[in-house]
C-alpha cells in the first residue's frame, strides 16, 4: 500500500505523540526515585543547617545569596565594581535590593537621614 502525503504526516504526528507519551511515562516512573532523593536532601539540609542550593561556586555572595552582604561584592577597594562572572547571572537577593526587608539585618542599614540648614 502506498503511503499518501497526508498519511505520512499523520504517521509522523502519531510517532511524535507516542514519543511524548513514553517520555511522560518514564518521568512519572522516576518520580518515586526523585522523591527519595529530595527527602534525603531535606534531611541533609536540616542536619547541617544549610541556607541555599549552591548554584554558582565562584563568588561567596552568589554561592550563598541569603547570606550575602553589601561589602563582599565590592570588597577589593572603595567603590569597586562587582567583577565575578556569575554576578550577572544571579542578581542581588531581595533583602539587599532597594526597599528590601533587611533594614535591620544589614550592619549599617538601620536609621533615617534628614537634612537641615
Amino acid at each position: 500500500m502506498r503511503l499518501t502525503r497526508s498519511g505520512g504526516f499523520f504517521l509522523l504526528l502519531g510517532l511524535l505523540t507516542a514519543g511524548v507519551a513514553l517520555a511522560v511515562t518514564d518521568a512519572s516512573s522516576r518520580l518515586a526515585l526523585g522523591a527519595r532523593r529530595i527527602a534525603a536532601n531535606r534531611a541533609l539540609v536540616r542536619a547541617y543547617d544549610l541556607t541555599d542550593p549552591c548554584l554558582f561556586t565562584d563568588a561567596r555572595y552568589t554561592r550563598h545569596p541569603s547570606l550575602a552582604d553589601r561589602h563582599s561584592p565590592f570588597q577589593d577597594y572603595p567603590l569597586a565594581l562587582e567583577h565575578f562572572p556569575t554576578g550577572s547571572l544571579s542578581m542581588p537577593p531581595s533583602h539587599l535590593a532597594a526597599g528590601g526587608w533587611a533594614h535591620a539585618a544589614d550592619g549599617n542599614a538601620a536609621g533615617t537621614s534628614a537634612r537641615g540648614r
Binding site: 565594581l81 542578581m91 540648614r117
Partner: protein, 380 residues
C-alpha cells in the same frame, strides 16, 4: 568633468532614493526593526566599553598594592600595627592604613562608600560628597546631613564641599568623612583599619613584594592593581560576549526576515524591474540598484541604532542590558558611565550588522535582476 562611471553610480543613486521613498511604509518598518537590532548590539558593546573605562579610571587612583587580612577566607579588619612589617619591605615607597567602608543610605537603600581621605584633613563634624550625590539630594555647602551611627544614634555632619570625582560612580556614591566620624558611623575600633595600601616605585618588583607580604603577614592577601585591571577587562568582555550570544537570536531572525523580504518580490517591484530592463537597463545596473537600496537601508538603520545606543548611555540604569553587564553593582546609586565610543567598536559593529544584511539581500537581488522583461510585461 564627471567620469562616466561615477555619473552612472550617481544616476542609479538618484533613481534609488525616490524609489525607496515611494515604498516608504515598508522601508521605514525595515529600518526601525533593523535599527532596534543594531541598537541592542551597540548598547552592549558601548556600555561594556564604558564600564571598563569607568572601572579603570577608578582603579587609576588606587595604590599599586592593597593588603587585606583574611579570616576563615573572608575579608577581615587589619591591625594598624601590621603596617611597619610591610612598609619595611625593600621596594615599597610608602604605605598607610586605610579607613573606608560601605554604608547603606537608609532613605534610598543604596550602597554608599565612606572614605577617610589622607588629604584634606576634615574636622570631626565635616563631610565632603560627590557632586551627583549632593545634586540628587538637593544639598549644598553648609547643609547638615544626619547619619545613623553603628549604635543607632544620629550623627550630624556639615557638608564642607564637593569631591572632585574621577568617575561617575564616585560622583554619585562617595562620601569623605573624618576618622572619628567614620569610627562612630561604622563601629571600627581604634587600631583597626579596613586595609593597608602600599605605593611601589618599580612595577617589575610587584610580584616579589607580594610574595614577601604573604611571608610577613601569612593571614593577609596582597591585591596587585594590575591584576584587578586584567580582571575588569576580562569580566566585562565575558559578560558582553554572553549577552551578544543571546542577542544573536534576534540578529538571525532579522537576517532571515531580510532575506525573505528581498526574495519575495512584490508584483510592483517585478513590474518595475521589467520596465527598467525593457527601457535598456542591464542586469548589472539592476543588481547595483538593489545593492544601493540595501546600502541606504542598512546605513540608515546603522545610524539610527548607534545613535540610540549612544543616547541610552545617558539614561542611568536603563532596564535593558545594564543589570546583566553591571551585575551586583546595581546596588550602588545609579550612575551614568562616561560614554566611550571607540572607532574600533563602531567598525566591529558595522561589520557584524551591515555586511550580513548586504549579503542576505544581494543574492535575491541577482535573482530579481534576471527577470525576463517580456514575461513581466505580459503579466505572468
Amino acid at each position: 568633468m564627471i567620469p562616466p562611471g561615477v555619473r552612472r553610480h550617481a544616476r542609479i543613486i538618484g533613481y534609488v532614493l525616490p524609489s525607496l521613498a515611494r515604498r516608504w511604509r515598508k522601508n521605514t518598518a525595515v529600518v526601525v526593526v533593523y535599527g532596534l537590532v543594531i541598537f541592542l548590539l551597540a548598547s552592549v558593546v558601548f556600555l561594556s566599553q564604558s564600564l571598563t573605562g569607568e572601572s579603570l579610571a577608578g582603579l587609576a587612583r588606587e595604590p599599586e598594592i592593597i593588603v587585606q587580612k583574611l579570616s576563615a577566607g573572608r575579608h577581615e579588619l587589619i591591625p594598624v600595627g601590621a603596617l611597619p612589617s610591610v612598609t619595611r619591605i625593600v621596594g615599597v615607597r610608602s604605605g598607610r592604613a586605610r579607613l573606608w567602608a560601605y554604608y547603606t543610605d537608609p532613605a534610598t537603600r543604596e550602597t554608599l562608600a565612606l572614605v577617610v581621605p589622607d588629604t584634606p584633613r576634615l574636622d570631626a563634624g565635616q563631610m565632603l560628597a560627590g557632586p551627583e550625590f549632593l545634586r540628587r539630594r538637593s544639598l549644598s555647602v553648609g547643609d547638615v546631613v544626619h547619619l545613623k551611627t553603628h549604635t543607632g544614634a544620629s550623627l550630624a555632619l556639615t557638608v564642607a564641599g564637593a569631591i572632585a570625582p574621577a568617575t561617575a560612580l564616585e560622583s554619585a556614591a562617595l562620601l569623605h568623612v573624618s576618622a572619628p566620624a567614620f569610627r562612630d558611623l561604622v563601629g571600627i575600633a581604634d587600631g583597626l583599619a579596613m586595609d593597608l595600601v602600599l605605593r611601589v616605585r618599580n612595577a617589575r618588583e610587584l610580584p616579589t613584594i607580594a610574595t614577601k607580604i604573604t611571608q610577613a603577614l601569612p593571614d593577609a592577601r596582597p591585591i596587585i592593581r594590575g591584576e584587578l585591571v586584567r580582571t575588569y577587562k576580562s569580566v566585562f568582555s565575558w559578560r558582553s560576549g554572553v549577552i551578544i550570544g543571546v542577542l544573536l537570536v534576534p540578529v538571525l531572525a532579522f537576517i532571515i526576515f531580510a532575506w525573505d523580504k528581498a526574495a519575495g518580490l512584490g508584483v510592483e517591484e517585478r513590474r518595475e524591474i521589467g520596465i527598467l530592463k525593457a527601457v535598456g537597463w542591464e542586469t548589472g545596473d539592476v543588481i547595483l540598484m538593489k545593492c544601493y537600496e540595501a546600502g541606504v537601508v542598512s546605513l540608515a538603520a546603522f545610524a539610527l541604532g548607534t545613535a540610540l545606543a549612544v543616547a541610552s548611555l545617558a539614561v542611568p540604569r536603563s532596564p535593558i542590558i545594564v543589570p546583566a553587564l553591571t551585575g551586583w553593582s546595581t546596588l550602588y546609586p545609579s550612575f551614568m558611565p562616561t560614554a566611550t565610543v571607540g572607532a574600533y567598536q563602531v567598525a566591529t559593529l558595522f561589520c557584524l550588522t551591515v555586511f550580513p544584511y548586504l549579503v542576505a539581500t544581494v543574492i535575491p537581488a541577482w535573482r530579481a535582476a534576471t527577470i525576463d522583461p517580456d514575461m513581466v510585461m505580459r503579466g505572468s
